[in-house]
């Protein structure tokens, strides 16, 4: 897990600065399969914060569409998408990041929202206009959490 140590290192490096460097939504670079290999923040993802954002109905709300036994304390898991049990054993980190950032580049035409994209759908409510659903840090946090979902 080379990237993690790199991310940890960069955390140390930027800790003197008040701002964490973030890749703007329009600047994220995808590989040909819709994966994103580089972290989009300079702060390592936090799986605990990631689980919270995953569950939160106003943030990831991932349970709306996905079963996840690790969050069995939450009632009502939707079934629009596949179960996320063991997701980290099925997908590489870069692909998982790409799926969270903009799922449409991995799954063409999917119903799954794009959580960190520069453009929103038409008629987006003023309150949300020009905003991403998740912040860059939340994307990395959710990713860190997804990476804990391994096949038993």
């Amino acid at each position: 897990m080379r990237r993690i140590s790199f991310a940890a290192l960069s955390t140390v490096l930027i800790s003197t600065s008040a701002f964490a460097a973030e890749v703007a939504p329009g600047d994220v670079s995808f590989d040909e399969n819709g994966g994103v290999s580089a972290s989009i923040t300079s702060v390592a993802g936090d799986p605990v914060a990631g689980k919270a954002a995953f569950i939160n109905r106003k943030q990831g709300n991932c349970l709306a569409c996905h079963i996840n036994d690790d969050a069995s304390g939450q009632s009502f898991h939707g079934e629009v998408g596949p179960s996320l049990n063991g997701a980290a054993s099925r997908w590489e980190e870069a692909q998982l990041r790409g799926i969270i950032v903009n799922s449409k580049l991995t799954f063409e035409g999917t119903i799954m929202p794009s959580f960190y994209r520069a453009t929103n759908g038409a008629r987006t409510m003023e309150k949300f206009a020009g905003k991403t659903i998740l912040t860059a840090q939340q994307v990395e946090d959710v990713l860190a959490y997804l990476k804990t979902l391994k096949e038993e």
Binding site: V80, P113, G121, A122, M125, K127, F128
Partner: protein, 281 residues
């Protein structure tokens, strides 16, 4: 990665899973132990669906039960209020609905053909438009707000007269542009979540989305009483709610866009029996 296959597998799995908690299509809606209402019908021509299914079939048994007896159906509190309103004189002309229409039963069948083209007004008309024309032009009374209590109660009373009759809105002739607009709105992704009506109600009906069992989003039961807000909800109010959930700015209630969408959605359910006023969560 075959997206379609995945979705199909999910749908089948969810349907199998759901049979215990939710009614299946074979469940029959019998109201007051005497009116049997088919809750599915062959899909109308050109439909992307195999068959059309009432939203009732997707609700939990206890919600379904509320619609099976008019004494248990909370909508009827409002229907009773509308019956009182029916004979109430209002406006400068000193008239009530009953002054001209006598019996509300004469509106039997009306609900099945609305919205439709109003020749005199050269406009697509929903039931609310007809009612407000009578209030403003014939009674000299204030119009009612599209989705407010007096209006939804009255549309419930009038729609009830068609209960059990199949929906059959006209889709050709002068309403063609509205049909086209409605279809476009149905399939266009909107909002921060960037979804179209079709993503949920066509691609994923029968599947759980968090705590909700997705239906085809049919409107044969409107106005519907919702346990969530303890009142009757107009079709346009429901459209508004769905748009807000995906963080999209809704169109105005009574707007040309929502009327076009109402017509298009109604046409997708042509053949389904009117269940108004239905009960939903």
């Amino acid at each position: 990665m075959n997206t379609l296959n995945k979705t199909l597998t999910c749908t089948v799995a969810a349907l199998t899973f759901a049979t215990a908690l939710y009614a299946s299509e074979t469940d029959v809606l019998v109201i007051n132990e005497e009116i049997t209402i088919p809750t599915s019908a062959p899909a109308p021509e050109g439909s992307p669906l195999d068959k059309v299914i009432s939203g009732w079939s997707f609700r939990k048994h206890e919600t379904q039960a509320l619609q099976m007896d008019d004494f248990d159906n909370p909508s009827f509190i409002f229907v009773d209020k509308a019956s009182d309103q029916w004979t109430k004189v209002e406006g400068t002309e000193g008239k009530s609905c009953a002054s001209c229409h006598e019996d509300v039963e004469a509106f039997k069948g009306l609900r099945t053909v609305l919205p439709r083209w109003n020749e005199a007004k050269s406009e697509l008309y929903s039931m609310e438009n007809y009612i407000n024309d009578c209030r403003t032009e014939r009674m000299g009374a204030e119009p009612w707000k599209w989705s407010k209590g007096k209006m939804t109660a009255m549309t419930a009373l009038i729609s009830l007269q068609s209960r059990g009759l199949p929906m059959s809105v006209k889709t050709d002739g002068p309403v063609e542009p509205a049909m086209k607009l409605g279809k476009e709105l149905y399939y266009t992704r909107v909002g921060q979540l960037d979804m179209a009506c079709s993503n949920c109600h066509e691609d994923n009906y029968g599947v759980m989305i968090r705590a909700d069992h997705l239906s085809q989003g049919q409107i044969n039961g409107f106005p519907t009483y919702r346990l969530k807000n303890s009142k009757l909800n107009s079709t346009h109010a429901r459209f508004k709610g769905c748009m807000k959930n995906i963080r999209a700015k809704p169109f105005g209630q009574g707007s040309a866009e929502f009327k076009a969408l109402e017509l298009y959605v109604a046409s997708r359910g042509n053949g389904l029996s009117v269940e108004s006023p239905a009960v939903r969560n």
